[in-house]
Amino acid sequence: MFHFKKESRIAFLSLLPTVIAVFIFVYGFILWTLRVSFSDWIGVMPNYTFAGFSNYSDIFKSERFQIDLWNTLFFTILFLFTCVIGGLLLAIFLDRKLRGGSIFRNIFLFPMAVSFVVTGVAWRWIFNPGMPGSLNGINQLLSNIGLSCLTWGWFTQSNHFMNFHVALISLIIAAAWQLTGYTMAMYLAGLTAIPVEMKEAARMDGASEFQMYRNVILPMLQPITLSVLIILVHISLKIFDLVYTMTGPGPGFATDVPGINMFETTFGGNRYGEGAAISIVMFILVAVVIIPYLINTMKRENI
């Protein structure tokens, strides 16, 4: 790091275009959205008449947004759980230097390179349940291999238990399919960084493989787990493309999420005030997770 006075000024000035662009496009626009969320704006023409919290009370009263919040909660918990456990197990398997391990790694990771729109199209067809008597997609596959007990309505099912819409399961499978590879790559990078001597020392002390992972490896992977959780939570809170392509809002909003609600309310229904209010709620949810994480990371870096 350098402290020449003149150069520091040049550095700052050269950074200025980016700083200005980001301040307008991120912070300025968020404040602008905040302003819209307190306005009466309905219809195509902007209308900034102050409307207090009416948009917020409207969305929180609407059944659709309540379902969205429950869906987000359940989706986030189950999606995170699947990705973290699945990714960790795959990373542990592949860390054993198997022959052909890199082929498996590439297979598990390739969904990250493909658009949510593409995979949404494929999964929509796979989970298309068909009619009783003429099963489609995954149901057909399951009944062909003798697992017809597992056939059901997938994302067309509108029922729910304790606010958990079962149709979400299809979305969780598709989203976990797409992002488990990411978790695996993160854990794999962490596992490779652990010195071999450490594992050997644990084995010499008579620890079983399970004990070694439980007591030596997993604690060392904790910072990675935190990063993974933060990244996955923020993806889950703002998810849109996959759900929009695969199912849309679903029957009785069974697969609706705030991202879709915001998009349809704003650009479909022209209720800009309410759409802005939904997006501000989404922003707050993400900010609550991300800001402490960023502050924490920066602090650790600057020590």
Binding site: A11, F93, L98, M112, V114, M186, P223, K238, D241, F263
Partner: protein
């Protein structure tokens, strides 16, 4: 001797189990690609929901030709959008990363996380102003508007990756170069740019993949079908009930192909970008 034998047998046994598990998981991961592939290779009369898992009777490329005819303008749009947005955001990011990693000025420690925060926000929360702003500067509904959007919202991640990349370059090089009378920027062009090729590869692959695959900005900003990128066109194609399934699946494969090819050829760099995206170097 006996114990060694038992140990060996155990090892072979556990390896076999491991392979079986990994192969089953792989089958699950490849399932969507299998469905896309076999369906798109069937002719329309062979596409039947009752036989969707079976292999095509004969290889038929007709659905790819039909999809290409429908989607080639959109594929081109995606290239027109992705290439400039990727290159510009990568280049600006490299300068930012250099300045932030090697030149401390008062406030730089605050500015960096403030820029970084931009890559985490849900883009829904800036969508309404974005549309208004782009209309104001007459770029709404154009590919230029979409390019500008992707450049600006790409800057946090490109800046982050280059900042972490340049942090590894020894600072003594700067001192030497400054003593030689180089300015802050000639130091960048003479010393940092030449060693930054691997960093550029990571950033360009990352940005290309993300911008190519992006949907929310694209569907919001481009309403004219002739200007829509491939993701939007594919979604519209899949949403219409009249279009044949085999053509939809072929279209999905075409949309995935550019990023898949990059992943297959340059997967190592793709993974680096993936890991860099989680803030820590």
């Amino acid at each position: 001797m006996k114990t060694v034998d038992v140990y060996k047998k155990q090892k072979i046994f556990s390896r076999t189990i491991l392979y079986i598990v990994l192969i089953c998981v792989s089958a699950f991961f490849l399932m969507p690609i299998y469905v896309l592939l076999v369906t798109s290779l069937k002719s329309f009369k062979d596409v039947d929901l009752a036989t969707m898992w079976s292999l095509p009777k004969s290889l038929n490329l007709g659905s790819f030709l039909a999809a290409l005819e429908k989607l080639s303008p959109n594929l081109l749009n995606s290239f027109y959008l992705t290439i400039p947005a990727t290159i510009i955001s990568a280049f600006i990011g490299s300068i930012n990363g250099y300045l932030l990693s090697k030149w401390k000025f008062s406030g730089s420690m605050v500015l960096f996380p403030l820029i970084l925060f931009g890559m985490f926000i849900p883009y829904q929360s800036i969508l309404i102003p974005l549309v208004q702003f782009l209309s104001l500067i007459h770029l709404y509904g154009t590919l230029y508007g979409l390019i500008l959007t992707h450049i600006v919202y790409g800057l946090p991640i490109t800046t982050l990756i280059f900042r972490n990349y340049f942090a590894e370059v020894p600072s003594e090089l700067i001192e030497a170069s400054m003593l030689d009378g180089c300015s802050i920027f000639s130091t960048f062009f003479r010393i940092f740019l030449p060693v930054s090729i691997p960093g550029f590869v990571v950033v360009i692959i990352w940005q290309f993949t993300n911008i190519w695959n992006e949907f929310l900005f694209a569907v919001t900003i481009t309403s004219d079908p002739s200007l829509q990128p491939i993701t939007v066109a594919l979604r519209n194609l899949a949403g219409s009930q009249i279009v044949e399934w085999n053509v939809q699946m072929a279209g999905a494969l075409l949309a995935a192909l550019p990023t898949l090819i990059i992943y297959i050829i340059l997967g190592r760099f793709f993974i680096q970008g993936l890991l860099a995206g989680s803030v820590k170097a």
